[in-house]
Amino acid sequence: MIVRDPVLRLPPKHFIQKIGQYFISVLAEVGKASMICVGAFTNMRFMFTRRARAEIIRQMYISAVKSLPVVSVVAFFIGMILALQIGIELRRYNQESLIGSAVMISMLREMGPFMSGIVLAACVGAAMAAQMGTMTVNEEIAALEVMSIDPLRFLVMPRMVTMILAVPMLSFYTCLLALVGGAVVGYTQLSVPWSAYWTSAFDFAGLRELYVGLFKAFIFGIVIVTVSCYEGFATTRGAVGVGEATRRSVISNFLLILIFGYFVTRLFY
């Protein structure tokens, strides 16, 4: 049940009480967000129904296809910046031909999933939180519940399926485009031949880098949908509340992407 009675607590009388109450409320919110995540996954058994398929395709267009232009620009320039910064340092040791491997490894392991996660959190996550928030304050979520239509199945599950596919795909795309950006800078600014750049890039990077990066992107997809939908469903107080929910979702997504990014890296290396 998404529509719930508002949780209103009595003002704490003591400092310790205040800390305790804050700690409990944080745990309660984490619990509610986790239930949204679990609910989306348990409802994935309905993802092949006609309506769900259509909704997933629609969401894929909104989330992935429409984000392509911004992801492309970000990826290309990230690749160029990385190649330039690393290349300038490596040139001091006459090793600028190694920029290919440096760009490849940093993009695959960290920057690819991180940048695509951040871009999608800002573009798609914010829009998702705003949409869910508007639906909540307009009583559309309550209307779904009255019709016995589970909002987790109807709204969250298609978005979850979309994002756990879209973020890894866009992450891979980001890596490829960044490599091209790096090659352009290597050739034009650092006089690294194309062949040397690509050879270096593929010599050092292994499949492990690719898998870890894609897994990271998969986790970021889950985080973005969970946080954005949770913030949207928790919206109160009309248009102001929708704005606040959107802002909170972007901040939480950025922080959680950083935190989860670190722990996944720690897990594999």
Binding site: M1, E140, A143, V146, I149
Partner: protein, 254 residues
């Protein structure tokens, strides 16, 4: 049919409903009237467990709605149709898809049967030609009528109307009044209407309940309601320029 037993609802320190008890009988049109903020909409949401009471119980026949397990809620809610104050149409679906939604999601009807039912519901609310239109392109009144079509398309036993005529022009408002009475007469639907529009309440209802201070002040049939000497009711009637020989007598209820 629907029974409130000593229901109290608090939001933090604020008590919205205070030891509220009343019963809605099967097949009647029951109107809840009262000033803003007296808990009329809260009362409706308690009936369908969008909210839970702080204390007391809400019963639907022999089922305690307020204590029902979550897995029983879909069955309970399937007996209701709910017209929200804001219509609550899904913005990315057109009117036809909005009205078809409960049928597509909760029944195994074929697409042809769904089309037939949706067209019939849209015709009843005067939106037969607007199925392709998106909610954002509809006026407030048309949105409300589309919301009503969605509420009635599953032919529920109980219809809940939250301010069905607010913000509507008088002609459309009377059309909705006629429809409420018509559904009640033809299908034996039980209707619960929350309204500020006393002209409408007097014209369509079998009984009117006046809410004030979180309690029922009085429940009367329209004829007795208008004669009431209770100060709150008199003030409410006077504020809408309703006299004892008012136009409400030409209402739809025979």
């Amino acid at each position: 049919m629907i029974r409130f037993e000593h229901v109290t609802k608090k939001f933090g320190e604020k008590t919205v409903l205070n030891d509220l008890s009343y019963e809605i009988k099967q097949g009647e049109v029951f109107c809840l009237v009262g000033p803003s903020g007296t808990g009329k909409s809260v009362s409706l949401k308690l009936m369908i467990r969008l909210l839970t009471p702080t204390s007391g119980e809400v019963w639907l026949d022999d089922v305690c709605v307020s204590r029902a397990e979550s897995h029983l809620l879909p069955k309970i809610r399937s007996r209701f149709g709910y017209l929200f104050q804001s219509a609550a149409l899904l913005a990315w679906m057109n009117v036809f898809e909005n009205v078809a939604l409960p049928l597509r999601e909760k029944t195994k009807l074929s697409e042809a049967e769904i089309r037939e039912k949706v067209c019939s519901a849209l015709e009843k609310v005067g939106l037969a030609k607007d199925g392709d239109v998106f909610p954002s392109d509809l006026s407030g009144g048309m949105q409300k009528r589309a919301g009503l079509a969605r509420a009635i398309v599953t032919e529920p036993e109980i219809l809940i109307y939250d301010e069905p005529t607010s913000g509507l022009d008088p002609v459309t408002a009377r059309m909705i009044d006629t429809m409420i009475v018509d559904l009640n007469d033809r299908l034996g639907t039980t209707s619960v209407v929350v309204t500020h529009d006393l002209h409408s309440a007097l014209a369509i209802s079998d009984r009117i309940a006046m809410l004030g201070g979180g309690k029922i002040i009085d429940i009367q049939p329209p004829e007795a309601f208008i004669q009431s000497k209770v100060p709150e009711i008199k003030a409410f009637l006077d504020a809408q320029y309703i006299t004892q020989r008012g136009s409400w007598e030409k209402g739809m209820k025979s």
